[in-house]
Amino acid sequence: MTLAPDREANLVYSPTAVELASAIDSAIERSGFSRTELRDQALSGRFESFRARMAWDAVGPMIARDSND
């Protein structure tokens, strides 16, 4: 279920599994790199761009153990 934000900015969203998968894909796409490339950059601690750094910050822990690329 997705909760709409209220006007007082007490905002919590709970995406469905489908929404979450789509959001993860979107974040990876915005980075300009593939999952594997992002994971490799994270493992080496050297991101190619700030955009890649932020994408990993957003979804890294969710895809770190995922071996299906």
Binding site: P5, L11, P15, M62
Partner: protein
């Protein structure tokens, strides 16, 4: 900690963080939380929703003046090892000179238990040229740009805070703050330090007991 309890704490955290930012250096910029449902992780930042997990840069400034600086504030939260508490899994504070974050001035990063041997809490400054580093790295045979260095900043417990970054952009006149910004910073900072102190005591209660015994003598 049950996930709904973590979500309630994350909501408080988002609300408090948004309150601090909007009481000091920006205007009407909500901080939202996304329950990912993966390993109990919750994302917190500006512009987050069910479709977007990447925190958006916050334009700095009050009212209708021209925006000159943007600050990205991003957190991933989870239950602590002691499940009664919430912990920050990772965070980023990044200052940019443009909305698209193509021109980053610096970013403070924190990643709990970073696996690459770099410090969990570090500062990166994307400088293209740094003459002293060029000289030193050449002398040491190190082939690495200054921008890729992870400058250590205080470790897990004493890393720079969002309040530090807010103070910095105000002190360096990168933004005109609200007139009463200082009380908001001090309130938030006091709470943060108390939170960190409680966490430090939980991690090392014996030293805390000894310190209190010395204090009571």
């Amino acid at each position: 900690m049950k996930q709904y309890e973590l979500l309630a704490k994350a909501q408080d955290f988002a609300s408090t963080t948004g309150g601090l930012l909007n009481a000091t250096i920006c205007d009407g910029r909500p901080i939202t939380a996304v329950n990912t449902g993966v390993d109990g992780l919750v994302r917190v930042g500006h512009g987050l929703n069910a479709k977007n997990l990447i925190a958006e840069p916050i334009p700095l400034g009050i009212g209708k003046g021209k925006t000159r600086a943007w600050l990205t504030v991003s957190y991933t939260l989870r239950a602590d090892d002691d499940p009664r508490y919430m912990a920050v899994e990772s965070s980023v504070y990044a200052l940019a000179a443009d909305e698209a974050s193509e021109h980053i001035v610096f970013h403070y990063d924190y990643e709990r238990g970073k696996r690459d041997d770099y410090p969990d809490a570090h500062l990166q400054i994307p400088l293209d040229k740094h003459r002293a580093w060029k000289r030193l790295s050449r002398a040491c045979g190190v082939d690495r740009d200054f921008a890729k260095l992870h400058l250590p900043v205080g470790g897990t417990r004493y890393r720079p805070t969002l309040e530090d970054v807010i103070r910095f952009v105000i002190r360096e006149k990168l933004v005109d703050p609200r007139p009463d910004y200082m009380s908001a910073i001090e309130r938030s900072e006091t709470e943060w330090f108390r939170h960190q102190l409680r966490a430090a005591v939980r991690r090392d209660p014996e030293t805390a007991r000894l310190a209190l015994e010395e204090f009571d003598k």
